[in-house]
């Protein structure tokens, strides 16, 4: 997949950014989900580019420019990322122009297209798994913000 190479390129660009994303605190709440769910699972991640936001979501490439953004989310649903929740993720992702990918860090999967339910199911995401969501495009920040609340 061509787009899988893009986050790497952007990551090096983002290292030039010294400021953390000031909009992180404006993300939607997690509807009563346990904020500490992602605590231990995200500890080993490269948080130097972002920060723990206290809601189970860790910014990896917090960037002030809207062309790219990626975060790590932890699956909180006891049934994992199942068919219905996957449907809602694909529906939400499809509202945005940006290319949006996800990889399951806990299973070391490659990045898949988040606008495809078939590819999403291949993440085999269970409760506690860490997923890296990456968006690239004109509405990347809004896309990631909208998707974060679904995990």
């Amino acid at each position: 997949m061509n787009r899988s190479q893009e986050p790497q390129r952007r990551a090096s660009e983002d290292r030039l950014e010294n400021q953390l994303d000031s909009s992180a605190g404006q993300l939607p709440d997690h509807d009563g989900r346990t904020p500490s769910a992602g605590g231990s699972g995200t500890a080993a991640l490269p948080t130097s580019l972002g920060g723990e936001r206290g809601d189970g979501v860790t910014d990896v490439e917090a960037s002030t420019h809207p062309q790219s953004r990626s975060v790590v989310v932890t699956v909180t649903d006891p049934r994992g990322l199942h068919l219905r929740s996957g449907r809602d993720v694909v529906r939400t992702a499809s509202r945005f122009q940006s290319q949006i990918t996800a990889s399951n860090l806990s299973r070391n999967t490659s990045a898949v297209d988040l606008k495809s339910i078939l590819q999403l199911m291949q993440l085999q995401a269970r409760q506690g798994h860490d997923l890296k969501l990456a968006a690239s495009g004109p509405d990347a920040v809004a896309a990631i913000d909208a998707l974060c609340s679904l995990f």
């Binding site: 068919l83 694909v90 529906r91 499809s94 299973r107 339910i117 078939l118 291949q122």
Partner: protein, 144 residues
């Protein structure tokens, strides 16, 4: 006679689920409907009659199912195995040429294909794109 394919703010294709078993068709329909919500017209052609348990496929029932959801944007037919495909082909031959052109037999596996097609159809994707998503299930590993 024909269901409108204009649902909400965009046009979507119709889906037909063809199975030897009416119960299997109904179950696949329930899965697909949950993915599509009320955005997609989905019709069934399962078994040889509505209230009997005789297994089999019937071209006339498939034709009726196509007509229930037919629209200009197209109709995708998803079949289980064997003669379901042949019955679907016969049903297409029974359609007027102008309508047949907008119908497509999918090579996708029935369950995965219906789930994937229902969701992507509900997103307003065109017939060929929806079928491509559904047929990708042929090469997608279920076990990761």
């Amino acid at each position: 006679m024909y269901a409108a394919c204009w649902r909400g703010q965009r046009e979507v294709i119709g889906l037909v689920i063809v199975s030897h078993s009416a119960k299997l068709a109904q179950g696949v329909y329930e899965l697909a409907a949950q993915m599509a919500g009320d955005q997609v017209g989905i019709s069934l052609a399962g078994g040889l009659c509505d209230d009997c348990e005789t297994l089999g496929t019937d071209a006339q029932r498939i034709l009726t199912a196509i007509e229930e959801v037919w629209c200009e944007d197209g109709v995708l037919l998803l079949m289980d195995v064997g003669s379901a495909v042949m019955s679907a082909e016969i049903a297409l031959e029974m359609l007027p040429e102008a309508r047949r052109r907008n119908c497509l037999l999918s090579n996708a596996p029935l369950v995965e294909g219906a789930i994937v097609a229902a969701l992507h159809a509900s997103l307003g994707e065109p017939l060929q794109a929806v079928n491509a998503q559904a047929e990708a299930a042929l090469s997608a590993s279920k076990l990761g």
